[in-house]
Amino acid sequence: MSMNSVNADGQPPAPAGPPPGVPPTVPQGVPTAGPPAYAPPRHAAVPAATQDRTRQFTADVGALKLRAPKTMLDTQLMWLGVGLMVLGIGMGFGAYFMSHGTTLILTQNDAITLGISAIPVSLLGFALFLRFSLSTFMRFWLARLIAAQQSPRQGPADAGTDATTVLPTTPAQH
């Protein structure tokens, strides 16, 4: 409201009581500071794109699959995997020495069986170890690989900045 507004008679409007925020003890006609000026919040207006991002974030949080925290069983299965890998390698070596330590055909047949059995044991151990130790890393690596493949191909201007051309040489490469 302008301070110079007038009513229909051309007279300034009569004050109808103290304005909001003014203590009633102030006599009428005494100039006062009036209501405080509106101070907008520093980041009041949230752009529509951001509201979309927040909605997307809320949806993503809702769709987030929360895994149970790592249990003792996970750790035990990881070590079982390590143990099976070692056992498989040990079985292979054992079968080798077993077959070379005898001339008996039957014993050598047993050694062959043992040696072949070592392969699935090692594979099972490797699978368990992979699942319960490296899976997080592998998933992240795979996600990055997929994202890199899905990204649009770089234009000719970017060809010179390909990772293979700008990677700094390290002492290990010398």
């Binding site: 980041h43 949080v61 770089q154 970017d158 700008v166």
Partner: protein, 247 residues
């Protein structure tokens, strides 16, 4: 004593859940508890500055939020859903972005390669560079330079740029000004202010109170693993001495 940020909300504010909320969070390093039932809420699109001296538990609180450190008690809520125990990679993927103390850039990679790390969010390299380089022209000049050979301020710019490139919903900033010249700090906080103007929710942990309060909508004072005070920057600025020194 723990206070809730709801105390600092204006009356009649919409009752949407805060984008980020901690409820009764406690955390410990082995037997030593460093966070004691911390309650904190960051409303959507706001900048909250958490101030406090060394050892107050600020960085630990950020680690708990990002899932890098498991709390011993309490829960973390994102957009109203409890996400306690979520894997850091999952939280990062949905848009919870953290800029750690010490910048966290890859020193042997170039500036461009550091920025390309943000492609895990499904953004192309070209888009990332188009988004970031206008904000940080100096990074464009040094795009083929190894990040480890840049100054501390430039590395911090790179860390912030990489965060922006991921199109985050929440940014956690840990000691942005650590070890930097005041001029560089001002430049970085200008960028934080611009990020905030786009409506991204920012949780800022800082020792330099005045600098942080200049860009914050809300502020909290933390000491001894507890939130001592939550309020508007003006309220907090008025009580800074007592908050830091007691009395």
């Amino acid at each position: 004593m723990t206070l809730n940020v709801a105390d600092a909300q204006p009356a009649g504010a919409p009752s949407a859940p805060p984008l980020l909320e901690l409820r009764g969070i406690s955390a410990a390093y082995e037997q030593v508890e460093v966070l004691h039932k911390v309650d904190l809420a960051v409303p959507t699109g706001k900048v909250m500055a958490v101030l406090g001296p060394n050892g107050a538990g600020k960085t630990t609180m950020l680690k708990v939020i990002t899932g890098l450190h498991q709390p011993t008690a309490g829960d973390i809520y994102l957009a109203g859903r409890c996400v306690t125990g979520a894997a850091p990679v999952d939280l990062a993927r949905i848009g919870l972005c953290s800029i750690p103390e010490g910048r966290g850039v890859f020193p042997n990679l170039t500036v461009s390669e550091n920025l390309w790390m943000a492609t895990y969010r499904g953004v192309s390299r070209k888009e990332i560079e188009e988004k970031v380089f206008p904000i940080f022209p100096r990074l464009e000049q040094r795009r083929n330079q190894a990040a480890g050979t840049m100054s501390g301020g430039e590395q911090q710019m790179l860390a912030v740029a990489r965060a922006i490139a991921t199109n985050p919903a929440i940014i956690l900033l840990d000691e942005l000004s650590m070890g930097l010249a005041p001029l560089v700090v001002d430049q970085l906080y200008d960028v934080v202010g611009k990020i905030a103007e786009t409506g991204v929710t920012v949780l800022l942990v800082e020792q330099f109170a005045r600098t942080a309060l200049a860009v914050a909508d809300l502020a909290a004072v933390m000491s001894g693993g507890r939130i001592l005070q939550v309020g508007t920057p003006d309220e907090i600025a008025g009580d800074l001495h007592s908050a830091y020194l007691g009395g």
